[in-house]
């Protein structure tokens, strides 16, 4: 069951208590879908998490929905028989979620139903999710995922996770942090006084590859098992050891090494550690990322004088330039449907923004409007991406939908937050 993984996450060590940070939607869709998520029936005492409230945050975070505040609700139906559609039509609600929570033998059981207010009929029949006390947020996100998919036909990402780097000055400290996608439950996976960079999830969501300077104040690539936090040093070559990228089957890591004198792209077999050199050019070749079919790599190179993204076929070695719009294109990532390449883009005289290029037509669209944007990481459903930017002199995370209709900014944290890595589905 998918749930076990979520359980694993939550049972581990301490749960860094999330300051309930409000994500700021800087741009939402013109006509968001209105959804009413009614407080769940519950006969017990105080519980540590309010499931409907977390769900409202999820739907708000999608940028496509407006969640009606409970203070505005005219009734709190617990069952279908208590649902009066007119109470919800007055509020403009299009969908209604009701539910109840019970506690049995140390587990919480959440049951919920969804109604289509406009058509005045049930949309989703009674379903139930359960988990321990540490999983109440997981229960909420799971229900959000199911309801979101039912309404939009797009798989929900509320149960996915984020890994990012938080850096502190004086004293210098770097933390690799795992959190929920809404920023809650931040938990450090690693702390070091040396730089940590480039975290990236393995395709099965169980491991993270990253770069750290912890051994000898020089960069090495590591792989950490997230559940146990056991880590393995994968490389410690002379010079650059950077930008690890998992192949779609999780068996290989593409990376940039300068062991042969110059930053080049290599592919390592994770099991055997066998290395294969992919590029050979006196310019910088860096930031490899895999095509969806695993047959080629996109990478950044300044072989044309300025950083642009190129693609190399692993079978033939044939290379071609992919990006042409802008004088700086770097760190490409392919969308899950394989249709777009998302990257860091700068046009002459403009700032650094996140852009998406249609791989078929070559058309490039700038998605972000913030400044000094970098490190885009796409959600596994391909609807949204997270990236790093600066706000008020601090490194913060921001998100934008791939259609650029929704833009949001996460509130600043204590340190400088950067390099978000969006997990796959669990």
């Amino acid at each position: 069951m998918r749930y076990l993984i979520a359980l694993l996450f939550s049972c581990l060590t301490f749960l860094a208590h999330a300051q309930m940070n409000e994500i700021i939607i800087t741009k939402g869709v013109d006509k968001p879908i209105k959804i009413a998520i009614v407080p769940f029936a519950w006969s017990g005492g105080r519980i540590p998490e309010d499931i409907p409230s977390i769900m409202r945050g999820d739907f708000r975070f999608s940028g496509q929905f407006e969640a009606i505040a409970p203070e505005r609700m005219l009734s709190f139906p617990r069952t279908e028989s208590e649902v009066h559609y007119r109470d919800w039509k007055i509020l403009g609600a299009e969908y209604l979620v009701i539910g109840s929570l019970t506690f049995q033998n140390g587990r919480y059981y959440a049951s919920y139903e969804v109604f289509d207010v406009v058509r005045e009929k049930r949309l989703m029949s009674l379903a139930s999710v359960n988990g321990g006390e540490a999983n109440l947020r997981d229960i909420a996100h799971k229900i959000s995922d199911e309801v979101y998919e039912k309404i939009t036909n797009i798989r929900g990402i509320f149960s996915t996770k984020l890994i990012y780097v938080e850096a502190f000055k004086r004293p210098q400290q770097y933390r690799l942090i795992l959190s929920d996608i809404d920023g809650a439950r931040q938990r450090p996976l690693l702390s070091s006084r040396f730089p940590i960079l480039s975290p990236v999830w393995s395709p099965n969501g169980q491991r993270v590859a990253y770069v750290s300077f912890e051994s000898g104040n020089k960069p090495s690539i590591y792989v950490m098992d997230i559940a146990t936090q056991r880590r393995q040093q994968m490389t410690s070559f002379k010079g650059l050891n950077g930008a690890p990228a998992w192949s779609p089957d999780g068996q290989k890591l593409a990376m940039a090494l300068s062991k042969d004198g110059n930053p080049e792209i290599y592919v390592m077999n994770v099991l055997t550690r066998e290395l294969r050199r992919v590029t050979n050019h006196f310019a910088i070749d860096h930031e490899p990322s895999w095509s969806i079919d695993g047959g080629s790599l996109f990478f950044t190179s300044d072989r044309g004088g300025k950083p642009q993204i190129y693609q190399v076929s692993l079978a033939t070695g044939q290379q071609e330039r992919v990006t042409f719009d802008g004088d700086y294109n770097a760190r490409g990532r392919v969308s899950p449907d394989g249709k777009s390449l998302v990257m860091l883009n700068k046009r002459p005289g403009s700032n650094y923004h996140i852009a998406a290029q249609d791989l078929k037509t070559g058309n490039l669209r700038v998605l972000s409007e913030t400044t000094l944007d970098e490190s885009p990481s796409i959600a596994p459903n391909g609807a949204m991406l997270m990236y790093a930017t600066r706000s008020g002199g601090k490194g913060v995370l921001a998100a934008v939908s791939l259609d650029a209709r929704v833009k949001m900014l996460q509130p600043p944290r204590q340190g400088d937050v950067r390099e978000p890595a969006w997990s796959p589905f669990f």
């Binding site: 850096a167 000055k169 210098q172 730089p195 960079l197 480039s198 770069v211 300077f213 104040n217 020089k218 960069p219 010079g239 650059l240 950077g242 930008a243 940039a256 300068s258 004198g261 110059n262 930053p263 910088i284 860096h286 930031e287 950044t300 300044d302 300025k306 950083p307 700086y328 770097a330 760190r331 860091l344 700068k346 650094y352 000094l372 970098e374 490190s375 790093a388 600066r390 002199g393 950067r418 390099e419």
Partner: protein
């Protein structure tokens, strides 16, 4: 400071003419530290100058400027025949891709190393590492700060 640099054998005499030539060729880099220390010995003909431990680079570039070469020639003189291992740390400013900036710092450090080797310094005594944009010399998001952060620093 001077006592310390003398102890490390880090001082050289430069004639004024050289300094003048150097600064006149660099009017775009007025905001960069020049690394010169006037000893104020009252002579005026000759100055004792601390060799800068930092060389600077243009944006998104890793080729050495004329000033950088001048600084590195002084280091080369000192390092030739010396058995001491030194570490050259490459850095980038905060703009652009954090990962790409690691490569930029690497290329900058390597450019320094390669230049020193062509000047007769034993390459095996020269270690290079890049910190990318991770360790800025100064904090700030403006041209002056960025100029000071695009650098290679030597650590003896």
């Amino acid at each position: 400071m001077i006592t310390k640099t003398l102890k490390h054998g880090l001082t050289l005499a430069f004639v004024m003419a050289f300094l003048t030539a150097c600064s006149s060729s660099s009017n775009t880099k007025n905001d960069q530290p020049q690394g010169g220390t006037d000893t104020g010995n009252g002579n005026g003909a000759v100055q004792v100058v601390e060799i800068s431990n930092v060389v600077y680079f243009d944006f998104d570039k890793y080729d050495l400027t004329a000033e950088s070469r001048a600084v590195l020639l002084a280091h080369a003189d000192k390092l030739k025949g010396a058995s001491v291992a030194v570490r050259w740390e490459g850095h980038a400013d905060e703009r652009g891709s954090r990962e790409y900036n690691m490569a930029l710092g690497e290329k900058r450090a390597n450019a320094v190393r390669d230049f020193l080797v062509t000047q007769g310094v034993n390459g095996s005594s020269l270690e290079t590492v890049s910190f990318g944009e991770e360790q800025p010399a100064v904090v700030g998001s403006d041209d002056a700060s960025w100029a000071q952060n695009r650098r290679v620093e030597v650590k003896y």
